[in-house]
């Protein structure tokens, strides 16, 4: 009898320790941040089903997940840069994605070897842009939004120079498979890539030295410097990573859409910022998770889906997106009063 009791308690203890170690990765503040987008997504799917029957089917749910992957890629750079703090924000995400798409179309030339070239060279371009932004922010103390906005505009000019204002590019077979092909069941390849991305970014943020120093730098750069972190290289590195991530997201965008149009990636700047803020990342830096941004990206994608289904004009869609960002800011992102 006694033995049985002991076995029971030891079992309970093991379960407890397992749940504890699992819970270590999700603290209470995070749960609230995850819950909002998840509930929002469910609500939107129900709303969509009411407004347009057939909106919510297993197929369309997975379709939206695949569509959201693009915003999820765009969120990588934005999350990292916003977490790095000190007014960090990346307004060049969309332009970099547009350019990445044009580049992906121009460089790959319809062959699979070309894809490797386009990925490598576009990654280099992204890194260069990140380096320009990062060094300007860190060494020249130009506000991040100003330099990233102007780098973004430069890239839009570059887009025009590459495409000559015309839709171009034939995607290689492999691109088509990645962009639109299904791996199995309803799961598309791009969704699998997104899942791998989410796991890698979350691990980097939570487990590596870089990730931990990024949070500390975002919280207080001075404290981070005093505790021996190379703050300058951390921040510049963050912008470079963000540049590479957005550039490759653009190549992905090309794989999904299959052609290039002017300004095709531009809306992702806004989407990424909105997703990161809804996902609970503090604009002041140092706080937030990538997973939160991912869930919010899904919510926003479904929202756009609903708005498209009920046929709202482009201008009104922009207006609604702006309003939503504003409401979210009002709920989440108010800074403390001056008196404190």
């Amino acid at each position: 009898m006694n033995k049985l009791k002991q076995a029971g308690t030891s079992e309970a203890a093991t379960i407890q320790s397992i749940t504890k170690s699992a819970l270590r990765y999700i603290n209470e503040g995070d749960i609230r941040n995850y819950l909002t987008p998840v509930l929002g997504t469910i609500f939107l799917f129900i709303l969509g089903q009411i407004l347009a029957p057939g909106f919510t089917s297993v197929k369309s749910i997975f379709n939206y997940m695949a569509l959201a992957s693009l915003t999820i890629f765009a969120c990588i750079g934005q999350s990292l840069v916003i977490i790095s703090g000190n007014g960090g924000i990346d307004l060049s995400v969309g332009a970099l994605m547009s350019l990445g798409a044009a580049w992906g179309g121009a460089m790959s030339g319809g062959t699979s070897v070309g894809i490797l070239w386009s990925v490598l060279s576009m990654g280099a371009i992204g890194a260069a842009c990140g380096l320009i932004s990062g060094t300007s922010v860190k060494y020249l103390s130009v506000p991040a939004m100003v330099v990233t906005l102007s780098v973004g505009n430069l890239l839009s000019g570059g887009f025009l120079a590459i495409t000559k204002g015309q839709p171009a590019g034939t995607p290689a077979a492999l691109f088509k498979t990645i962009g639109a092909g299904h791996a199995f069941w309803y799961i598309r390849w791009i969704l699998l890539i997104a899942i791998v991305c989410i796991i890698v970014v979350e691990l980097v943020l939570r487990k590596t030295k870089y990730g931990k120093s990024l949070y500390l730098v975002g919280t207080s750069e001075r404290a981070a410097a005093l505790s021996g972190i190379k703050t300058t290289s951390t921040i510049v590195f963050t912008y470079v990573i963000a540049g590479i991530a957005s550039a490759l997201a653009g190549v992905m965008l090309f794989a999904v859409v299959g052609s290039t149009q002017s300004g095709m990636g531009d809306s992702y700047t806004m989407l990424a910022i909105a997703a990161v803020v809804i996902g609970g990342t503090s604009i002041a830096g140092g706080k937030g998770t990538y997973l939160g941004s991912v869930l919010s990206a899904l919510m926003l994608t479904v929202l756009i889906g609903v708005l498209t289904v009920i046929q709202i004009p482009q201008g009104a869609r922009n207006f609604i997106q702006g309003m939503i960002l504003l409401v979210i800011l009002l709920v989440y992102a108010r800074s403390p009063t001056l008196r404190q």
Binding site: S141, L325, L326, L338
Partner: protein, 272 residues
């Protein structure tokens, strides 16, 4: 001229330690509101322009209230309102629309009165209001706020009021810019205004206004705007392949933001 007006408004906001990314799209919205009122509802130009200015003032005030009373981050708030105003502009005027009326605004715009080109009267009006603000007690308070928000608050500056004043002024210059877009393009364009925001910021930097706030003179923004306008005109005049014009223009803007900072960085390093 739109760039110069916009950089005047932006410089006021930036000196006060803020930023306004929505100024260009407010200009676009004002532009579209005026055209829609005249064309669709058959208003006279004068009340239409007046209500356009009211719209500009309203959104400027909205920015100021959101940022000061609701304590939101200036950058992201104005980024959101730039989508709201730009979206509204595109909503009410999905296609560019030419201007036709008994009084031809673009003809007035391109003529001159008493030997001075008409658009300059708008600039003079905006500058007069700017100097009126500077002359009142609010002027020094804007600088104090830009230098150090907390210290300004402690020394008794009405931070809320001062901030709202800077954003309302920027909304006002945006509506003047929106009017001048009608003059230049001869109609309403929902997407043109947004393109003026970044050159406006660049003009402020060239004009010696520190983006961290508290330093500079709004007239500097105006001079920077003139400089930038001439530079762009020069680039476009030397026969560059049209597909590369945008690239060249934006490269110049990026350079004009970065180069002064590089110089400042080198000077600081030598002296420090």
């Amino acid at each position: 001229m739109p760039v110069i007006l916009i950089s005047l408004g932006l410089s006021t906001v930036i000196i006060g330690g803020g930023i306004d990314l929505s100024i260009g799209t407010i200009a676009a919205l004002v532009n579209c509101v005026i055209i829609v009122l005249i064309k669709k509802f058959g208003w006279d130009p004068a009340p239409a322009i007046l209500s356009g200015v009211v719209v500009g003032l309203f959104f400027g005030g909205l920015n100021g209230i959101l940022i000061s009373i609701f304590r939101l981050n200036a950058l992201i708030t104005t980024f959101a309102t730039s989508w709201i105003t730009g979206g509204l502009a595109l909503w009410i005027l999905p296609q560019p629309s030419a201007f036709t009326s008994a009084i031809d605004l673009s003809k007035i715009y391109q003529s001159s009165y008493l030997g001075i080109p008409t658009p300059f009267y708008m600039l003079i009006l905006a500058l007069a209001i700017w100097y009126f603000i500077m002359g009142s007690s609010v002027g020094p308070q804007i600088y104090a706020m830009g230098n150090d928000l907390k210290r300004a608050y402690i020394t008794g500056v009405n931070v809320t009021k001062t901030r709202v004043v800077t954003y309302v002024f920027s909304g006002f210059t945006a509506s003047l810019a929106g009017i001048s877009i009608i003059g230049i393009m001869g109609g309403g364009f929902a997407t043109v205004g947004g393109e003026y925001t970044l050159p406006g910021i660049a003009a402020c930097v060239i004009g010696g206004i520190s983006l961290t706030g508290g330093v500079g003179e709004a007239f500097g923004g105006v001079i920077g705007g003139f400089f930038l306008a001439f530079l762009t005109a020069l680039v476009l005049a030397v026969n560059i392949n049209p597909y590369f014009q945008e690239l060249t223009k934006n490269a110049i803007i990026l350079m004009s933001i970065i180069v002064p900072s590089v110089i400042r960085f080198l000077v600081r390093r030598r002296s420090g």
